[in-house]
Symmetry: C2
Subunit: 387 residues, 2 copies
C-alpha cells in the first residue's frame, strides 16, 4: 500500500470519516487539502443542464484558478434540492474553510448518491469537524474509500515525474456504473504549474479518457474532475510533460472505473474510422456504444455484425452505406457491407471485445469509445435502487 492517491504528491493532506449519511454505516465523507505554496487548480464538470448544488458552488470556486481544498460526501448527491441544496453545499464549503483557515470560495464541494434527498446537515457538520482533525499526509487511501458508492474497490493512481509527482483518486463513473452514476475524480500534484497549464492538461486528458467512457448515455448531475497543484516540489514540468502525466493518470483511473463498472461482463472498445472527421467518428462510435441491441449481442458473445451496421446507419457521420466494414477482435466479419466468411463463428467469449468499424469513405476521421455489454446484472442493479 505505497500508493497514496491524492496524498502521493507533496503538499497535500487528506482524511476520511463516517458521518452517517450512508445507511450502510460505511465511511462517507472525505477531505483533500492543498497546503501550497501554490494553489493553482482546474476542473471539468458534467455537461448536464440539470446540475447538482455542489457543482454550482464548485464551478464558481474554481473560476479564479485557485483551490485550497475539496470536501466530499457520498450517499447523497445533493441534486434537485432547490435553494436548500444550494445553501447546504455552500455551508459545507464554509464549514470546511473555517476548519482549515481558508476562504469559502477556495473550497470545492463534491457529492454523490441519491438525487432529491436533502442532506442531513447535522451529520455533515459533525463529519467536517472530524475531517479537519484527521488530516494527514497518508490519508489518500482512506479518502478514496470514503467517496465510494457502489464501487467494489477504491481507485487510486500515482505518476512519478522527474522530481515531481501526480496522484489521484476516483469513484463510480458517469455513464458507466449508473446505479449511482456520478464520476468524481481528484488529482493532486506537487509540480509547479499555472491554472492555465493545469486546465489545458486536464481538458485534453478528460476528452481522451473519461469522455470516451460511454456506456448508456446517461450523464450524472454531479460529475466533477478536479486537479490541484501545490507546487511543493519546486519543479516545473513542461506543458508536454504535464499533459502526458495527467493523461497517464486519467487513463489509469478510467481503466479502473471501467473494470469496476456494475453489471458488466464485457468490456468493449469501439473504434470508428474511414469517415470525414474525428467528431463524426466519435458520433458513430457513441451511437454504436449506446445501442441496446448491440450491447445485448455483446452480452451474449454473439458476433451479430448486422446490428453494428443497423446502429451506425443512424449516426450523424459521413459514410458509404455500401462500403462499411466491421472487425471483431481483429477478424473481419463484414466487408463492404456484406458478411465475411466465418463471421458467425468469431469467438467473443472473452471479457474484452475489440470492435473496429470502417465507414468506407477512406477519410481521416477516427475515434474510439469504451463501452460495456447490457447484462442481467445491469437491469438488476438499476431496477432496485432508490425504493
Amino acid at each position: 500500500m505505497t500508493l497514496q492517491g491524492v496524498t502521493a504528491a507533496q503538499g497535500f493532506l487528506a482524511s476520511a470519516t463516517t458521518a452517517g449519511i450512508k445507511p450502510s454505516g460505511k465511511p462517507d465523507m472525505a477531505l483533500v487539502v492543498n497546503e501550497g505554496p501554490s494553489f493553482a487548480a482546474a476542473a471539468v464538470f458534467t455537461r448536464n443542464r440539470v446540475v447538482a448544488s455542489p457543482v454550482k458552488h464548485s464551478r464558481l470556486a474554481v473560476a479564479d484558478g485557485q483551490l485550497k481544498a475539496v470536501v466530499y460526501n457520498s450517499g447523497n448527491a445533493n441534486a434537485c434540492n432547490g435553494r436548500q441544496g444550494d445553501a447546504d453545499a455552500q455551508a459545507m464549503a464554509e464549514a470546511t474553510a473555517q476548519g482549515i483557515g481558508a476562504e469559502t470560495q477556495d473550497v470545492a464541494v463534491c457529492s454523490t448518491g441519491l438525487i432529491g434527498e436533502v442532506l442531513p446537515m447535522l451529520n455533515v457538520h459533525t463529519g467536517i469537524a472530524a475531517l479537519g482533525q484527521a488530516l494527514s499526509t497518508t490519508g489518500g487511501h482512506s479518502a478514496a474509500e470514503a467517496i465510494m458508492t457502489t464501487d467494489t474497490v477504491s481507485k487510486e493512481t500515482v505518476f512519478n515525474g522527474q522530481g515531481w509527482t501526480l496522484g489521484g483518486m476516483g469513484k463510480g463513473v458517469g455513464m458507466m456504473a449508473p446505479s449511482l452514476a456520478t464520476m468524481l475524480v481528484c488529482l493532486t500534484t506537487d509540480a509547479v504549474a499555472s491554472p492555465q497549464a493545469l486546465s489545458q492538461a486536464l481538458h485534453a486528458a478528460s476528452d481522451k479518457t473519461f469522455n470516451t467512457l460511454d456506456v448508456d448515455g446517461s450523464t450524472s448531475t454531479n460529475d466533477t474532475v478536479i486537479l490541484m497543484s501545490s507546487g511543493a516540489s519546486g519543479v516545473e514540468p513542461t506543458q508536454e510533460e504535464l499533459d502526458a502525466a495527467v493523461l497517464a493518470v486519467c487513463s489509469d483511473l478510467a481503466d479502473q472505473l471501467q473494470a469496476d463498472a456494475e453489471g458488466v461482463t464485457k468490456r468493449v472498445k469501439i473504434t470508428v474510422r474511414g469517415t470525414s472527421t474525428d467528431a463524426q467518428a466519435l458520433n458513430a462510435a457513441r451511437t454504436l456504444g449506446r445501442d441496446n441491441l448491440f450491447k445485448c449481442a455483446m452480452f451474449g458473445s454473439d458476433p451479430n455484425w448486422g446490428r453494428v451496421l443497423a446502429a451506425v446507419g443512424m449516426a450523424e457521420a459521413d459514410m458509404d452505406p455500401d462500403r462499411i466494414s466491421v472487425y471483431f477482435n481483429g477478424q473481419p466479419v463484414c466487408i463492404d457491407s456484406c458478411g465475411a466468411p466465418g463471421a458467425r463463428e468469431v469467438d467473443l467469449s472473452g471479457p474484452d471485445i475489440d470492435v473496429i468499424v470502417d465507414l468506407g469513405l477512406g477519410g481521416e476521421g477516427v475515434a474510439f469509445v469504451r463501452t460495456t455489454d447490457l447484462s442481467h446484472a445491469y437491469v438488476d442493479i438499476n431496477s432496485a435502487y432508490s425504493s
Copy 2:
C-alpha cells in the same frame, strides 16, 4: 374472424405460404395484390442510412405513386447482402409481377428477419408461385400471420368509412420488439384517392403513431409502411376523412405492436411540455424514452424522478433547469426541480405508466412518445438471437 386486414377493402387479394425460409417451418411469405381500378400508393421507409435491398427496390417502385402488389418474406431481412441482395429483391419483384401480369416496377418488396444472410432463392421462387395460386379475397389474416417473426399475435385492423373501407396488417416494430426489429405495415383501401392524398395522410399518421414508438432508439434497415388504394368503392373521401381514417388504423396497429413488444412488462407514455417547440419537446421525450437508467427504474416500479431530471438535462431542448416538474400517473413527484411530498410512495406497479415532464419555460412545445421498460426478458431475447 370478420376482420380481414388487407383484404377488408374491395379490390384486394392476399395469400400466404410456407416457403421454408424460417427454420421453424411456419408460414414465411405473403402477397397483397391490388386489382384496381386504381393503383395509387404511398409509402414511408426507414430513416436508417444502411437500408436493406428490398427497401432500395420498393423506394423506386413507389416513386411514381403506383403499386399493384407487395410481396413479403419473413425470416430473412435481405439486408447487407450487397449486389446479390439487390438482385434477389429485384428477382422477387420480377417473379411476382410475372405471376400477376404486372410490371416489376409496380411490385414492392418487404423482407424481415436476420441481417446478412443471403436469401434462399429457390425457396423464394417456389413460394412466389404458390402465393400467386392462393390469392383470395379472404387471405388477409393468413398474410398477417405469414409476416410475423417474433410477434406472438398477428396484427390487423379495419376502419369503415361512409361507403369505403381501410384495412391493414403489421408486424414487429422498429425500435420496439428489437430482436427482429423490422416494422412492416401494409394498409389497403377501396377509397378513391390520389397518390398525393395517400402520401399526405400516411406521412401525417406515421409521425403521430409509428414514429412515437421509441423504445431503444434502434432503427431497422427494413422498416416499411405501404398504403395502396384500389378505388373499388367508387367513393372519394375528403382529405380530412382520409387523414382521420389512416390515423385511426395506424394508431390501432401501433397499439397492437406496443402491446406485443418483446420483453416488455411496462408500457410507458412520456409527455413533455413547457418548452419552446414541439420538436424540442420530442427531443426531450425521446431522450428520456431511451435512457436505460429511467427504463430500469420503470421495470422496478421505482418512482425515481431524479433519473428523469438527469436524463432530460441532456436533451436538446430549451428548459429552465430550476423549474422542471415531473408527474407519475398524474401525481406530482417533482415540482420546480425539487422532490414533492410523497414522491417515493407513488404506485407504479401497474402495466401502464404515464409520465409528464414540464420543462418549466411555459412554452407551447408539447410532444409524447411511447416507450417500454428495460427488463430481464429484453436482455434474454436480444442476447440469444443469431447464434
